[in-house]
């Protein structure tokens, strides 16, 4: 896969190229907006990384021109500015994602893969973090590379927790996700489901936060 990098900062350019090559991606690097437009017109890239502040032509103008001529190459905007207005402007002009400096190469790679997948029409069926994932199509849980089937209530509970990995959900919030409005809920129903999941997947995958509720840790912590 070939990636186009449009970035004028020497050190960042070299750093990004090194990181992308380690991940097995081929990279072409141009250093100003006009060259970026030309490269996008000439080659077919799997994705482009576009810095917003560029010499000769700004990133937003490049974005407008490229989208104006119907080019659908996935473009990730990279910028040091993160005001709401900046984000909205970038996304409205057709950027596929928006990364604020500084970010880690790992984060960048994940985002690149995500936009390429989206562009290729693969619906995202896996949600969750690195510890635990949920396959929305098969309604299975993926943990340590192994898949396991879930009951309807287990699935509903994990779905709620994995929509935003790391976020805390209270008992009340989980109950609302597992049961319909009219259903009677026994006082420890949530605990029972979580106890069962922990037994199968390991105690560390769902953690209790004293007084607030439960969460699935975001990363590998």
């Amino acid at each position: 896969m070939r990636i186009l990098l449009i970035e004028d900062d020497e050190m960042i350019g070299q750093g990004l190229i090194a990181a992308l090559r380690v991940a097995g991606l081929a990279v072409d690097w141009v250093r100003d907006g006009l060259a970026g437009e030309a490269a996008l017109a000439a080659g077919s890239y799997a994705a482009a990384l576009l810095d917003l502040r560029l010499p000769r032509r700004s990133g937003l103008e490049v974005l407008r021109t490229v989208r104006g001529r119907g080019d659908r190459t996935p473009i990730l905007v990279v910028t040091a500015r993160d005001g709401i207005d900046d984000r909205v402007a970038g996304l409205e002009l057709g950027a596929d994602d928006y990364l604020v400096k500084p970010f880690e190469a790992r984060e960048l790679l994940a985002r690149i893969r995500a936009v390429i997948r989206r562009r290729d029409g693969h619906a995202q069926s896996l949600i969750g973090g690195s510890l635990l994932q949920l396959d929305l199509n098969t309604r299975e849980v993926v943990s340590g590379g192994e898949r396991a089937a879930l009951s309807a209530r287990e699935f509903a509970l994990l779905h709620a927790l994995l929509e935003r990995p790391g976020a805390i959900l209270s008992r009340r919030q989980l109950e609302q996700r597992i049961y319909g409005w009219e259903e009677a809920v026994s006082s420890n129903a949530v605990e029972v489901i979580i106890h069962g999941l922990r037994k199968r997947l390991g105690a560390h995958v769902i953690r209790n936060v004293r007084g607030l509720g439960w969460r699935v840790p975001h990363g590998s912590a």
């Binding site: 960042i12 750093g15 090194a18 990181a19 380690v22 790391g166």
Partner: protein
């Protein structure tokens, strides 16, 4: 210090008293001369009538005898008739008033008693009329008193009115003082020019010009901090990428220098983001986004965001609340307060410790508490830790030194008050956020 009011009153009040005294003196003088002239005229007429009587008939008229009461109290003139230096008759024998050789008015003093005399020329009998000066003085003083009373009453009355006039005249100043007191570095509004005395206008115009220059200076300083923080992100990013490159080369073997380099970069990253947050927070006008905010979901998010750090440091974070509570405030500012207080608590608690968040509510007021099991803060430093870039001795080097400054600046924006104290029950710091209830 000079007080305009005191200055004005100090000058005007004595002036008032002085002019009142002068008015009284002048009116006394005028009564004196006019009453004297009137009484002199009476004496003259009396003498003339006796003289005419004597000229018409040679027999001496009988004079009604007077006593002291008549002379001194009623002011009845004494009549004396003289011929060839001999006193023929007198209506009051007592005073040894000799005949004045020359005709006309005289003022004499006999045995300590003043008299006014009128001597009519001999033809051949001389008529001499005498009136007590003491009586005359009494009449004059009496009359002068009548005119002095209104003045004496008016002086304190008009002094009071003067005081009021000065008070009201200086009221625009008090209004200005209030307007100036409400200013701070985030809201440098121009001072109102309506209803201001003309004399103050040049001063106010100058102050307003100064204020707008100041506002521009603050704005550009804030912009500079924001720009600087933004600009720092690019080289920071370059550093991160280089460190990641090194990490890829070394693999996961923990090279101590690389670990330290990465920690340094993380700290720099945090510092830059905190600076940006503070600058941005201070740039937004305070109280602009006040609404009812549910505290429980907000704290859920705050805790969720900080748990990775807490877990990494093996710190148990717990929460307790009596009931769900909501407050009136700016959700972003509240978030910023809680984020920074919890972050501060987690960073200052040694591994294995705990941080407890408690939510209390009473009538119209809500209290959020963050209690840690860290070393606490020396009492004399409890205020200083809010200073930007303040570092307590022995603090871990992971903080930016801006967290509490950001929390306090956020608190100022949403009518919250942050209180830091050392825990009474065990070592550790207790951070309290006092919030107005949603009522």
């Amino acid at each position: 210090m000079t007080s305009l009011r005191r200055h004005l009153l100090l000058w005007l009040l004595p002036l008032y008293v002085l002019s009142a005294a002068a008015a009284m003196f002048v009116s006394y003088q005028r009564y004196n001369s006019s009453i004297s002239a009137f009484m002199d005229g009476q004496m003259h007429n009396l003498a003339e009538s006796y003289a005419r009587e004597l000229a018409a008939s040679p027999t001496l008229p009988t004079l009604r005898m007077l006593d002291e009461d008549h002379v001194e109290h009623d002011g009845t003139p004494i009549v004396q008739l003289w011929r060839d230096g001999q006193l023929l008759a007198s209506s009051w024998p007592k005073p040894a008033l000799g005949l004045r050789p020359e005709a006309g008015f005289h003022s004499v003093s006999i045995a300590g008693h003043g008299w006014r005399l009128y001597t009519a020329p001999a033809s051949p009998v001389s008529v001499q009329i005498a009136q007590s000066n003491a009586f005359r003085q009494r009449v004059i003083l009496h009359s002068a008193e009548y005119s002095a009373v209104p003045i004496a009453v008016l002086v304190p009355l008009s002094a009071a009115l003067l005081w009021l006039a000065v008070y009201f005249g200086l009221r625009p100043l008090a209004r200005l003082v209030r307007a100036v007191t409400q200013q701070d570095e985030r809201s440098l509004a121009e001072l109102p020019l309506t209803g201001v005395p003309q004399e103050l206008l040049p001063l106010l115009t100058a102050v307003n010009a100064l204020l707008s220059r100041l506002r521009r200076a603050f704005d550009s300083q804030q912009l500079f901090v924001q720009d600087a923080a933004h600009e720092l992100r690019t080289p920071l990013m370059a550093l991160m990428l280089q460190a990641e490159g090194l990490r890829n080369r070394f693999g996961t073997t923990a090279d101590e220098e690389l670990v330290r380099l990465e920690a340094g970069i993380r700290r720099l990253h945090r510092l830059v983001e905190q600076m940006l947050k503070l600058a941005r927070q201070q740039a937004a006008p305070p109280g602009s986004a006040t609404a009812a905010v549910e505290l429980l979901p907000l704290l859920q998010e705050v805790v969720g965001d900080l748990l990775p750090l807490a877990e990494q440091r093996n710190i148990d974070v717990g929460f307790s609340a009596a009931l769900p509570l909501s407050v009136r405030g700016d959700a972003d500012a509240l978030r910023s307060i809680f984020d920074n207080l919890l972050d501060n608590a987690v960073r200052h608690t040694p591994a294995g410790g705990s941080v407890d968040i408690a939510l209390h509510g009473s009538a119209g007021a809500v209290l959020v508490e963050f209690a840690d099991t860290g070393p606490g803060v020396a009492p004399e430093l409890l205020e200083r830790v809010f200073d930007r870039f303040y570092r307590s001795a022995g603090a871990t080097s992971t903080g930016s030194g801006l967290g509490l400054a950001i929390a306090r600046s956020a608190a100022e924006r949403t009518a919250a008050r942050i209180e830091l104290l050392n825990r009474a029950d065990s070592p550790g710091l207790l951070a309290r956020v006092h919030l107005p209830g949603a009522a």
